[in-house]
Subunit: 130 residues, 2 copies
């Protein structure tokens, strides 16, 4: 497995992480995802981590990087499907996933993305990077 598939769901992109992440795979995912955000004009990215039993600082940093890159490209990122034990471990390790929004599952994550898309002022046009 050399890349993680990115699925398009309407205006959003969905990534399901099922395999052990390593450096090269994380870089490929970042490349693919940023390209897809631009080519599909996606407004949001959903990252499902329900298959992960462990979220360590490497995964946490990768998620934060993806969220930052997506934000610059004007797309919101929501991490969904976190296992209860992962949430416990993250807090115990002092990893609070700064800058990452979470939701219980894909449905709720899409609701969150839709709500944040609607709350933006439609007259303001695209956000400027300052």
């Amino acid at each position: 497995m050399d890349r993680i598939p990115i699925l398009r769901l309407g205006r959003f992109l969905l990534v399901t992480i099922q395999v052990d992440m390593h450096d090269r795979l994380a870089l490929t995912l970042q490349d693919d995802l940023t390209e897809q955000i631009v080519s599909s004009r996606a407004r949001g990215v959903l990252i499902d981590i329900s298959a992960l039993d462990i979220v360590d600082s490497f995964i946490g940093r990768m998620l934060a990087n993806i969220a930052s890159m997506a934000r610059i490209l004007d797309a919101e990122t929501v991490v969904v499907g976190m296992q209860p034990s992962v949430a416990i471990t993250l807090v115990e390790l002092g990893l609070s996933l700064p800058g990452i929004r979470t939701a219980l599952n894909v449905d709720r994550g899409m609701d969150l993305l839709r709500a944040s898309g609607e709350s933006e002022d439609p007259t303001s046009g695209s956000r400027e990077l300052t």
Copy 2:
């Protein structure tokens, strides 16, 4: 990785196959999926195979089994995201995936499921198994 995550998307379930399938994983997926169809009252199952470079007779049989089981539980199955090279190989091998509906991507697969759900007679109630 001992199981493949099943994501709920409204009335549908989405499975992304990213890892090499083997007997036990396929059985676990069948168990999980049939359970989820019942517990979430799903009307459709989307199986994304965009990460697969090869679909052999084992995978073909697994997909056909899942589609048959889902059908008995009154849910339609659509396989989405097939790579062009996979389609070529399947035809060359004489594997035509009988009983399996396909769509280009998740969005089109969901359209297909929605359309087939609407075309059913709402007064007829649940289908009977004969």
